[in-house]
Structures are given as structure tokens and as C-alpha cells.
Amino acid sequence: MNQHVTPRLNRRSFVIGTAALGGGLALGLDIPFGGPQVVRAADGSPEVNAWVVIRPDDTVVIRIARSEMGQGSLTGLAQLVAEELACDWSKVTTEYPTPGQNVARKRVWGDFSTGGSRGIRSSQDYVRKGGAAARMMLIQAAADEWKVPVAECTAANSVITHKASGKTTTYGKVAEAAAKLSPPADVKLKDPKDWTLIGKGVKRLDTADKVTGAMIYGADIKLPNMLNAAIKDCPVTGGKLKSFDEAKIAGMKGVKKVIAVDGTAVAVVADTWWHAKTALDALPIVWDEGPNAKVSSESIGKWLAEGLDSGPAFVGNENGDAKAALASAVKKIEAVYNYPYQNHATMEPMNATALYTPDRCEVWCGTQNGEAAFAAVLEASGLPADKCEVHKLILGGGFGRRGQTDYVRQAVQVAKAMPGTPIKLLWSREEDMTHGRYHPITQCKLTGGFDADNNLTALHMRISGQSILFSLRPDALVNGKDPATFQGLAPSGEATIGYSVPNLLIEHSMRNPHINPGFWRGVNVNQNAIYLECFMDELANAVGQDPLEFRRKLMAKNPKHLAVLNAVAEKIGWGTPAPEGVYRGLAQLHGYGSYVAGAAEISVIDGTKIKVHRIVASTDPGYVVNPAQVERQIAGSFVYGLSALFYGGCTVKDGRIVETNFDSYNSMRIAEMPKVESIMIPSGGFWGGVGEPTIGVAAPAVLNAFFAATGKRIRSVPLRDQNITFA
């Protein structure tokens, strides 16, 4: 009953589509640092270079290519530029360049995609260089004006000083001249020890409008003569739109048009969205639910379970001979875990506003990937790049969902049916819950073997289940294998296993049900950390050892993993008595380039109600740009991770997702929020992400504490389905 889906080709068509425009993606990054031809911002102020515009009043406009969805990288990226620019932070403002401008300027701003906790770490080098180059040009312009050697001039706080003569000027006064200079060939970055703004917990730059209601999200856009659209896609993925009875809603107030989209969906366009939705709900629609209409969570679970023991599997990490070592082990421990589908449930449902004419197509939307959204506009409109544009707006949550462009394509298709009229397409919460790009579903069988001295000699992990890359980025598969499946378990790279086991085998039996998978905050560390870290506790318990000591013995070759684990153990008071009725659990992982660990203190009432009192979390991301925002990302990741553990989980019945709103897909509230204490131990020399890694340690730390409290091992998520809830 489970359909093996065909990979989609979105990514491939994106590469081809953009390559055809002038080779942007294929040619890589072309970083221009100004030049004789002055480029001007919309208000006429000169660009010193692509990253920095300075207005005559000394306002510094820093261009931010990555998207802001709450994670704070808009502010962090501005800090990186401003650190090297040596400008007055109080005069900094930001703006998004558009994807269309990026294409037209040979990807001067590089990659727009904002996911994988990469916003800062994968652009930190070139944005700092952008700031440094602009500073050098501004100083040069002042030195030229004063006819003094540039080496005698310095800059700080947007003021340039020539000490010998006592002359000073400001960035705003020399920006015009600086913009005419050739960019410096050799740009040297500050030594991290000399940073004054990077590492400071300055306030976010985007808060003021968020407390007054003035911030415009995609759902808030208003354009002249705009109409509104509501949409329903076939509730069973893989199904089609068979028919709809338009006559039944003819004459309903405000309704302008009913449009079939893609052969799978139907949209109603009306004067207001409420009218559109009301009419859509009244519209009789017949679906051809297709071949997946009988798939259920049970059938998927059964199919995945078969993969735990049989069929081919990709090997993700191997040393020694785990199977032989297990066969000869004195003691063997085995357990099966599982992790369900999860919806991103961004607070702002998916939406995009499109204006199409035969000559031009423009879209306004929140997106985590402006360039992918742009490619989707080209594809759906059929227009060339110089006739398309995407205007990015602040996102009402992303978490990976808005890296996809399905809602953008739909909006353009609806707008194409009504040329000249801007149309805002907004998904209802129910549509958003039914057509997610879900956290993939997997199961995992773990087997550990000990010798006569209770040393762990072998570990075998066999994951069975869904691959994200197979569906979303088939070009990134390696001979059919999805390397991302082994996130946190890999032998090398940015997400490695922290334990040395003499005989190790980690493999993946890929099974892809029809439910669309996606990148969901934390991605594969969410389940892999539960599998590995809870099983580590099981192994420790099997040989009567302390979970921390048991881990430490296996971590000698991984000092960075060990350092963050030791940090949480010390702060939570591991090895010292906990308060009466309070129990502790630990977990650690390496993901997104950062080393993280978590320790939880919980109490359990009647075996079914969990009070999470306290979580201590440590992170070594190499460098911390804004500690206040990192702290918020850590605390926020626990809200997302614990919501998933307690309340998440999307059930499949009759081929469709059962949970359609927050009444059945609940999310943590303030009453359930534990105290989070974060420890940042940036050890330097590398750049790791901070938005996602800590999410992975929340659930296993709590589950391990639950075992300590009750002696009961939970191997299945969500707790909702086991009648366990927050106290």
C-alpha cells in the first residue's frame, strides 16, 4: 500500500533555470567591492559596496541576503559587517536585496538560502570582508581629500581621524567619494581577540515594529485592487482534483473566480479572504485520491519495521566488524525506537501575493530561500528573469518549512488566471497542517554488545525510514544514499558521533512513504539523538554504570563532545543529590558544526505527568556573535523540541494527515516552559550554527530523566499517544 514516490525535480529545474539566466549559480560567488561606477540605493545614497550603503546623514544601511524568521541572524549578520566597518552601531539599519537584483548582479550577495543553521556561519567570511573593504575605501577617500597617507588615518564609530593634523570627518561625508574608488585587492580581517561588537549581546534591529503591530508579514500585504484567494489541495498527496461544482457557490458574496490549480487543487478568489474561505468551504469538490488513499500510520509503521531486519541498507558509519562482535558478545542489549511525522506549524500559515501580467510577474512573500522562490516564479509564470521579482518579507516562523516554494508556485498560478490583479493566496491553518513538508518518519533498531568486563565492544544502529534528500534534493544523494540521514552519527564532518566503539555499524534502510518530507528545525538530529542518547543510557544501565561515566569512557577521542557534556553535568550537579523527587537525564550531540549537550531535571507524578523543572544546555559553536540571541535560540529550540516530544506527531489515516489544527496538534505554553540555563563555551577556530543543534538534546535528556524517575524506558514519540503529558 505504501507508494515509493518518485523524486521531485524542483532543485534540478532551479539550477537549470538560474543557469539559463546568465550562469549565476554555476559560476559561484562574485564578490565585488565597489568600483568606479557608483551604484545607488533607491534613495540615491551611494553603495560603498554591495553590502554597505551610507547616507549623507551617516545612516549605515547594511544589506542582508539571508532571511529573518525570528532566529536573529539579521542582527548577527549586521554585527559582522559593522565590526569590520567600524561604524556607529546606533546608526545601523538593514535592508534585503531582492533575488532579482542578485541574479542581475551575478549573485553579488551570494546564497540567499536560510536553513541548516547556516545563516551566519556560511556567510561570515564574505560579509566581514564586505565591511572591511568598505571601511578601507572610506578611510582612503578621507586620506585623499586631506592629501595625507592613508596609513596615518584611522576609523572608529563612523568617524575617520587623522591624528597628526587633528582632522576628522564622518562616513556620511566621504561615502560619495569612497564609492568611486577601486575596491582594495587585499582585505584583512580583524583577529577575533580584537572584536568589540561581535560577541556582544546587542538588541535585535527588528523589534520595534513587532511590538506595535506595524511589522508587515506576507499575510499582511495590501496592494491596490488586490483580491484574496483560499485554496484546497487534494488532502491525499498524490491525488488529483476530479471536479468541483462552481454553480453551488455562484452568487456568494464577494466571490470573483474559481480556479483549478495544477490539476490537484482548487482556489476561490474573492474580495476578502474570509469570503474566499467561506465559499471554498461551501464548494463541492470531488477528489481522485489516487493510489495512496489506503495508507495509514499502521501500514507505514509495518513497512518501516520490516526494514529494521531485512532488505538492503546504506552504510553511513562503519568500523571493525559489528555483526561478528555482536555474535560473540557476552552480553547483548537490543531496543527499537521510533520518531513520527511532525508539522512545522509556523504561526503564520503559508502565503504569497502575486501580480502577473504577460510582461511581468512580482511576488511578495516570506521565504527562507529567496532565490528558490524566484526560480519558482520564473517556472510558474513562464517569464524570463528580467521580468520577474520576489520581494521578501519578514517571516512569521520558518523552521525549514518556508525553504519550500509550493505556496509561491500556487500564488503565481492563481494570479496568472487573473492578469493585472494582485492576488494574496493565504492557506488556512487546516491547509497548512494537511500540506506540510513533514519531519520524516523513521524507526531504529539498536544493538549493543559487551565483553566479559562490561566493555562496550559493538554497536549496531539500523535506521529504517524516510529520506528528505530523496524527495527534495535528489541531486544530493550519493549513489542513492542520503548522507543527511546519518546526521549526528557520521564518522566525519559537521555532525559526528561522539563515541568510539571498536566495532560500529550504522546503516539506513531507505523507505519513502508518500507523505512529503521536509527539513524541520533540527532535521535528523531530532530522532538520531533520541536513538543514540537514550540507548547509551540503556547500555549504561545494563552494566550498572552511571550514564555520565559510561559515556566519558567512550569519548576520550572526542574532547569537544566531552567538554560540552562535562559542562552540563557540572552545572546540573550530576553526582550530587537532586532535590526530593527530582531526577536527572543527560544527552549530547554534534550537529550543524556545533557541539551541544543538555541535562534535564524533572519530576514525574503518577507515572504519567512530567514536570520539567530545569534544563541546562551547553554549546560550543566556535564563535558566538550575539550571546543574547544564542541564548534565545537555545531556549526556543527546547520549546520546539519538547512540543514535538510531548504533543507533536502527525497521524496518517486514509492517506491523509489527521491533525488539522492546534486542538489536535498542540504546542507548549508558558506554564510548561522549564527554566533554561545556557552555557556558551566558544572554543574558536570554527563556525557552528546555533538555531538547531540544541533541539536534539532536549527530548533525550528528558526521556533519560524519565527513566531515572520511573525505571520505565520510553522509546516512542509523541508522549501524547502514551497518555503522558506535562504536569
Binding site: G213, W274, S428, R632
Partner: protein, 149 residues
């Protein structure tokens, strides 16, 4: 047609009486600070004040709001500036994505009107808005800061 009083201003809106107040505010009055999150009064993103009481405007009809003072996030402050809850939000750098924060602020402003110095337990009982970014620690700090302002 319905006559609504929003933020002290009278609006005559071309809207059916059974329309959820949320959509009359957003689409007919054009005040988009009040957000749509779920449409079933679960998440609180659409929280406004009706005669000073916090309500989830997706679950109130226009006819139920006629004759009452409706306050939205746009009308929470005064001519002198931000409401003390907004000010505390700004000073504590509370919002992440910010989408839920209009509703969160409106719920907190109503709480503080009735209970000027809420305990943590009072906050737990009264503030049930969903925030997927997970700003709860800062929300709690800012509530106490506003209460002490």
C-alpha cells in the same frame, strides 16, 4: 453593514454580522497587527480587547462586538507612546519572529489591568498563547518588568 468602534474610532464596515471579528479588523478595517493563526481560538495570535477584556477575535462575531470598545495592538499605546507592556517587550527584546506577539502583548496587557502584580502561577494560568519560536522565558521576564514599571 456593521458599525464597530476600534481603537476609539468609529468604522462603518461592509461586513456580514456572522463574520469573525478578526477578519473584519484585518480586512475591512485594514488593521493587520492582529494576526490569524488558527481560526479556532486555540493559539491566541488574534487576541484583542473587547471592553477591556482579552478575547480571541477569531471566535467572536462582528455582531457580538457591535457597541463595544474594541482595542487592537495598534490602539494599545497612547499619544504619549507605547503601553508599558510594549515598552517592556522592547526593553527585554522579547519577539523572535514576532507573529504571535501582538496577541501575546494584548493578553498580557489585559492580565496586568486586572492583576497588576501577577505571580508566576497567575501568569501560567492567564497566558495561554502559543509561541512556536519559544519566547516564553523572555515573555515572563517582560511581564514582571512591566508589572514593576
Amino acid at each position: 453593514m456593521a458599525n464597530l468602534t476600534i481603537n476609539g474610532k468609529s468604522y462603518t464596515l461592509d461586513v456580514e454580522p456572522d463574520t469573525p471579528l478578526l477578519w473584519a479588523i484585518r480586512e475591512n478595517a485594514g488593521l493587520t497587527g492582529t494576526k490569524y493563526g488558527c481560526g479556532i481560538a486555540q493559539c491566541g495570535a488574534c487576541t484583542v480587547h473587547l471592553d477591556g477584556t482579552a478575547v480571541r477575535s477569531c471566535g467572536v462575531t462582528v455582531s457580538e462586538a457591535v457597541g463595544k470598545q474594541i482595542t487592537t495592538i495598534e490602539g494599545l499605546g497612547s499619544d504619549n507612546g507605547l503601553h508599558k507592556v510594549q515598552q517592556a517587550w522592547l526593553e527585554n527584546d522579547v519577539p523572535q519572529c514576532g507573529y504571535c506577539q501582538s496577541g501575546m502583548i494584548m493578553a498580557v496587557a489585559a492580565l496586568l489591568k486586572d492583576n497588576p502584580k501577577p505571580s508566576d502561577q497567575d501568569i501560567n494560568d492567564a497566558i495561554t498563547n502559543i509561541c512556536r519560536c519559544g519566547t516564553f522565558a523572555q515573555v515572563r521576564e517582560a511581564i514582571h518588568a512591566a508589572a514593576n514599571a
